[in-house]
Amino acid sequence: MSALLSIADAHVAYGKVEAVRGVALEVADGEIVTIIGANGAGKSTLLNAIMGILPLKGNAAFAGLDITPLDIEDRVVAGLSLVPEHRELFATMNVEDNLQLGAFRIPKAVAATSFEKVYALFPRLKERRRQLAGTLSGGEQQMLAMGRALMGAPRLLMLDEPSLGLAPIIAADIFRTIGELRAAGVAVLLVEQNAQAALRIADRAYVMELGGFILSGPASDIAANPRVVASYLGFQREGGGV
């Protein structure tokens, strides 16, 4: 099977400090892949570089297209979408406007069906559609950020720490929704500190440490790996947040 996203020998640096060193990664169509690792391992840096926010040195192909020369906006058109850690919502605009802008680059007719899909996935957003994004609760903001990203009908959705700062019950809700995306045919690349929850919904997983991958494989194998259990799973509460 040819990969939807394939990254090879990727390096990302902040000035002279290299945060990601020679990483290779693949995501297939409709697959849920997670990258787990400690704070500062370079997970978010890698996602930002795939989206074009940070410069990526190396090879990056998406749907057979070399994306390294493309800027963020063209990667969006190609079908990549990122929900960043800080969500980057339009705080002074209402929920519906935020969602509508998520469909900025796709035809109006398609956007109408996107609205239905997103509201079906997050009924809460439909209730709050006239409310300003900045006044939503943390969980609702995360839903809105994901909804906005899905409005553009991406082929690959990248999520950076979606459970960060959320109450455990809300985080569980977010993870369940991510699992539902599989049925919708959207591939997901998930970066998470809550390794337990991430491994439960993912097909495959990479473990990142100090800017490189130290392990990769099917999520169930990774979850059973003694090193992972000791470092990332052992002391985490069931369904817990950060």
Partner: protein, 346 residues
């Protein structure tokens, strides 16, 4: 002071205030979207007004040629920026926007200019010319600096102002010009006489404010511009090009500037450097509005116009001093009311 004089002064203040309101709104718009404090806004006023005045005498204004020259520079910049991945579609779009468009405007100006050209045609030509200059100004001076700090953008903005003002002297000469009125009709209510021109000022100001409100509130492109102003990264992540937002902001600002110029040039003689002072008064209104609030800016502009009218009656020598001194108490109040904000880094 009797009531009649007061009414006259108020009327005068509101007419000028309406113009300052338009300019203030344009400044807020450009700052919100691009973080540029648009000092050359005044030059858009001058260029619009004096191009219109020159066209009215049947001459071709130099601004039409400037637009083509700036378009050529923009095209060259586009070529240079995309030298690694030159695509035909991109090239064709850049060619059409940067070369064909100003060439057509220049050809139209040559073809249509004459002593008998209708006023409406002259207005349309002036607006086209200045709009093109605004668009290219963004491409040449501000798009390459889009990621820099507000201070760098401000310095570039001052540079643009000086360059455009100098060019204004070349195009229009040191003599002032006056343009024909849009309408010679007049309306008398009690002691007040409303000229067609001042009615046009009110009407167009209100129309523009309503149009901007509709644009930002109800169109996808307007919302995209607001989104860029609220969160640049968020906007890029949904595929909104910040350069497109910047272009539209500059296009609107130059159009608003040119319209303001065309509205005032029949009322008062304009010189190549008058625009700066007019633009600064719009800037004071924008500052009072905190460079974010449109309604506050519009109200502040009317206050600026009023203060100016009354101070020119009571202390005409200190007219500008009084108007610009307004900014000090406002800044003091604002700095007391608002907590210190660190400049956004992106």
């Amino acid at each position: 002071m009797n009531t009649t004089i007061m009414l006259f002064l108020l009327q005068d203040g509101i007419t000028n205030g309406a113009i300052y309101a338009l300019l203030g709104l344009a400044l807020v718009l450009v700052f919100a979207v691009t973080r540029v404090i648009l000092i050359p806004q005044g030059e858009f006023v001058t260029y619009g007004a004096l191009s219109y005045a020159m066209l009215a005498t049947g001459q071709v204004p130099g601004t039409a040629k400037l637009a083509l020259a700036m378009g050529a520079v923009s095209f060259a910049l586009d070529l240079f920026d995309n030298r690694r991945s030159l695509r035909l579609k991109l090239l064709a779009r850049s060619l059409a926007l940067n070369l064909v468009l100003p060439a057509v405007i220049l050809a139209l100006t040559y073809g249509l200019a004459g002593p008998k050209t209708p006023i409406a045609v002259n207005i349309a030509l002036s607006l086209l010319i200045v709009a093109a200059i605004g668009l290219f100004l963004y491409r040449i001076a501000f798009q390459p600096l889009a990621h820099t700090s507000v201070l760098v953008l401000l310095i570039a903005s001052v540079g643009c102002h000086l360059a455009l003002q100098g060019l204004g002297l070349v195009f229009f000469g040191a003599e002032g010009l006056r343009g024909p009125a849009l309408s010679n009709a007049a309306l008398t209510i009690g002691p007040l006489r409303f000229t067609g021109q001042s009615l046009a000022v009110y009407g167009l100001t209100i129309a523009f404010i309503v149009a901007l409100w509709l644009f930002f509130g109800f169109t996808l492109m307007g919302k995209a511009l607001r989104a860029t102003a609220v969160n640049r990264l968020g906007a890029r992540l949904v595929g909104i090009r910040t350069t497109l937002s910047g272009q539209i902001a500059f296009l609107l600002a130059s159009l608003i500037g040119a319209i303001s110029g065309i509205l005032i040039v029949p009322i008062t003689t304009l010189y190549y450097d008058t625009g700066f002072l007019i633009g600064l008064k719009g800037f004071i209104a924008a500052i009072i509005g905190g460079l974010v609030s449109y309604p506050l800016t519009a109200v502040a502009a009317l206050v600026v116009g009023g203060v100016e009218a009354f101070s020119s009656f009571y202390a005409s020598n200190f007219k500008e001093v009084i108007v610009f001194t307004l900014i000090i108490p406002v800044l003091v109040l604002r700095s007391l009311a608002a907590p210190a904000v660190e400049e956004e880094k992106d």
